[in-house]
Amino acid sequence: MWQVEYKVTLKDGILDPAGNTMQKSLTRLGYECVKGVRAGKIIRVNIDAKSRDEALEIAEKMARDLLVNPVTENYTLKLKEVS
């Protein structure tokens, strides 16, 4: 069994209202050093695959088919074997 962990983030230049709202709150709490906040999401999927290569191929296909919208989002993924 393989576990793929996707990190999905909005592309640079796409407005990130959640990040902006957190930034405003941090500034209000006195963190004037904060100059930017971007939010994203983590998605973990367990995959039954025979090999690392097969798991990676499936993981990338799932990103294209559903998990990531390439118009607005970027992603990276990490793969690890789990029992």
Binding site: L10, I14, L15, P17, A18, T21, L66, N69
Partner: protein, 228 residues
């Protein structure tokens, strides 16, 4: 003449559409999201508003991959008129039947109010009952209506159908309720048979609901007349 209304889990404007069509004497039939039947017996398909699949992942993302959507895409590819309203617009974007994508409203808040729209192109089967530059009033109700297009406005020449404006018809940042690129409220595909719009025309048909506007009526009448 028969319109089909697609119901996804979480659609909540399907009956509003049915009621509006009844009021206009247009026959309609509900279509369940798991159906895979050919839809060519219908004259027009409506993807109604709501929160399909709880808006999980991205608004419209799951519904765009629902079983019924293969038949919807076939219908659209053959030139059949398809209108996506609010969540229906998001679904059409996620299905790539329309260009661009939808992100959260600029100020993170749910917008539920009447807006002014400027009709940008009346040479379509959805807008022929309007005049170009006409200002109409329709209600919006959404949190993910911030339209984004990753290119230049010229690339969508003629495809921007409605833009948020002030009552005088000026397209200003102040009249943009959600931060949409180019104040876009509604766009059409290149072929001209698929329309997506965030405002709700079905809520501005019956006088008892429209809060003084029945501008939604002319969208449905435009479709009817283009089918005759």
């Amino acid at each position: 003449m028969k319109f089909g209304i697609i119901i996804f889990p979480g659609s909540n404007c399907d009956r509003d559409c049915e009621t509006a069509l009844n009021y206009l004497d247009i026959q309609s039939q509900m279509i369940w999201h798991k159906d895979r039947d050919d839809l060519s017996a219908f004259d027009c398909l409506i993807l109604p508003g709501g929160f399909s699949y709880g808006d999980y992942l991205r608004a419209g993302a799951m519904a765009a991959r629902a079983p019924v959507m293969d038949a919807v895409e076939d219908f659209a590819k053959k030139g059949g008129p398809v209108i996506g309203i609010c969540n229906g617009f998001q679904i059409l974007l996620e299905r790539k039947l329309l260009p661009g994508a939808m992100v959260t409203n600029q100020d993170m808040s749910f917008k539920c109010r009447y807006v002014h729209l400027r009709v940008e192109n009346n040479q379509t089967s959805f807008t022929k009952e309007f005049n170009n530059g006409e200002i109409i009033t329709l209600p919006i109700a959404h949190q993910e209506g911030n339209y984004f297009y990753p290119g230049k406005p010229e690339e969508l020449e003629g495809q921007i159908i409605f833009r948020y404006s002030n009552p005088e018809g000026e397209v200003t940042p102040e009249s943009n309720p959600n931060g949409s690129w180019q104040n876009v409220a509604g766009i059409i595909n290149k072929k001209g048979n698929v329309l997506g719009m965030m405002p709700h025309p079905e809520r501005a048909v019956e006088p008892v609901l429209g809060n003084g506007t029945n501008d939604g009526t002319r969208i449905f009448i435009s479709i009817l007349k283009s089918l005759l």
